[in-house]
Subunit: 352 residues, 2 copies
């Protein structure tokens, strides 16, 4: 088992050599090669010449370390897990884009899993990710049921578990933007579409709305509050919620929707009921997804900096992975919304 492979292997194209083979070609030990390739050459005072020879040969033979073996031995997988409700247009995707920006620059790869709010998946995935040796987890709009043995960053979760760092929007500011806008336009009978009960943002945002409304002396009429229901596409659930609102027969001149999809759905239902937007009812969305700008009419909405939130989540997680627990961020990382005024809102002309 020692002489038959020199010739055979040099014939094979596309075969990635392993450390042993590379070391044999060079006539040095695997240890030395490994050290050079891992950048710890100077620490071990490996001669400049050896170093150069190793680098050259590695490039020539197109050597690439097997990350599995490396991870198994070193306990560093350079992999994280990302949990999202689903892969689809909108929220999760925008956050994922930001996460990716940061991770790939750092040499980290990530697994994405989507749970679609299924309870079994929510419980199972963290464990599956851990089996794959992720060094940390980013949970996007995803409630976590247990403490995990790796750093965790939660985007838009508000459970504030110890050992989980939250990235969260300033919902009070968001609510203030929307309500001041509507109030300034003369709206007093404002209807609200709350989010689904499974969305972590729902409660936080609603609390913020109630607080701001109280500050501003705006009445929150329970008969004008409705909630998204079901986990289907947002437009349809927005339609249902708006239809419910209309059925109650309580007059309103504006709607503040939980998200843009719900706002878009609301507008279609209003229109079908012969109610013009924004002439008779103003509608404010939330998120500023792509469709918001191209919708008919273009949506006035509160923009979440989703891409930025993804970036913040990834860089925070990387920081946590590389630092002592005592140095982890002690408070949620707060992100600022922006108000985008388009054409789905206008001055209230309805006499109440």
């Amino acid at each position: 088992m020692s002489a038959e492979d020199g010739e055979g292997s040099s014939h094979q194209k596309n075969v990635r050599p392993d450390l042993k083979e590379l070391a044999r070609h060079l006539g040095v030990s695997q240890t030395t090669v490994s050290r050079v390739l891992n950048g710890s050459a100077k620490h071990y005072r490996i001669s400049a010449e050896t170093q150069e020879r190793v680098l050259e040969e590695a490039a020539k033979l197109n050597y690439k370390a097997n990350v599995l073996a490396r991870s198994l031995r070193s306990k560093r997988s350079h992999t994280i897990g990302v949990m999202v409700p689903e892969i689809s247009e909108g929220y999760s995707t925008a956050v994922l884009g930001g996460i990716e920006d940061v991770l790939l620059l750092s040499g980290y790869f990530y697994f994405v899993v989507s749970h679609r709010h299924h309870d079994d998946r929510l419980r199972e995935y963290p464990s599956l990710l851990l089996s794959r040796a992720v060094e940390g987890i980013i949970a996007v709009d995803t409630p976590l049921h247990e403490d995990l043995p790796v750093p965790v960053v939660a985007v838009s979760d508000h459970h504030h578990r110890p050992a989980v760092v939250n990235i969260e929007l300033d919902h009070v500011l968001a609510a203030r933007y929307a309500l001041e806008h509507l109030h300034g336009l003369g709206h007093r009978q404002i209807a609200f579409i709350k989010g689904q009960s499974f969305s972590s943002d729902t409660r936080a945002r609603w609390r913020a709305i109630c607080k701001v409304a109280a500050d501003m002396d705006i009445e929150v009429n329970p008969n004008l509050v409705t909630q998204l229901d079901g986990d289907g596409p947002g437009i349809e659930t927005g339609r249902v919620a708006t239809a419910t609102l209309l059925d109650r027969g309580v007059p309103f001149t504006a709607i503040f929707a939980f998200n843009d999809l719900a706002a878009i759905g609301a507008i279609t239902v209003l229109r079908e009921a012969g109610i013009q937007v924004p002439e008779q009812v103003s509608v404010v969305g939330f998120d500023d997804i792509l469709s918001a700008a191209t919708n008919n009419p273009p949506l006035t909405t509160v923009r979440q900096p989703l891409h930025e939130m993804g970036r913040a989540a990834a860089s925070t997680l990387l920081e946590m992975i590389h630092k002592e627990k005592s140095e982890w961020p002690k408070h949620p990382i707060r992100m600022l919304p922006a108000f985008v005024e388009r054409q789905s809102t206008q001055e209230n002309h309805v006499v109440s």
Copy 2:
């Protein structure tokens, strides 16, 4: 080193036991435990009783195999790589959703990397993915520069490398849908917005359009052909392409755009130029992204079954991974488009 850990380890919560520990608890060999847990129990005729005991204890101790170690030894990582141009609303995301549907059911995880059409990333990523021991790669709208030692499925690539299976839309049918629709509405001066040169679909789709146009005796006037340029968001590039068209001063009554984003951009430019859609110019998009339905006006478009294409890609790749090369699909897998008629097109009333 043999007696001090019985008590210690049972105190630790959240510590995942390894095979060795599980075997020790049970008083059997790691081999046996491994066999039971991998479902090869019957093949090795392990007694039903042992089997049950193993399963029970594994559940009790919450044993989960270390996937890194398993993969390293067995050469099966149960991981694939997915290359996409970018993570953002629209095309890639929809395909990813389909891929995920299939993969997660099969116990496979996936890495996503986005290259943003950077040449260095395009060349580097396949190798990085291979270092992570992926068993196969799905390339979404991504040109591959070299042959890979693992199965590859390409969605919307048209290079037809040997050993790469393509999932492709029937572009001729797509072109026929759009052109018959416009022709039937009386349009004769039809402008075309081609895709970016880096998109694999651009050439295939354009060839199909030319073929169908020839079949139908529709003139393709070079002065009415323009092309998306730049890798920015689609709406803006669509605006630029349409402005170019307008500048040429050659009259047209309809536009067939490369994708919905370009169509949406086109409509905004036309409108700013005082041209009504669809009254004066009809616009047909491509893809049927979410915004298409909520756009003003709602977009008539050719729908690509993106989610289905993702599913097909994943199941084909899994099949290739598990079968002999001689049994791999020998032809591209063709997907059918659908025509969605909305309100951005109408009968041509312009006298030419």
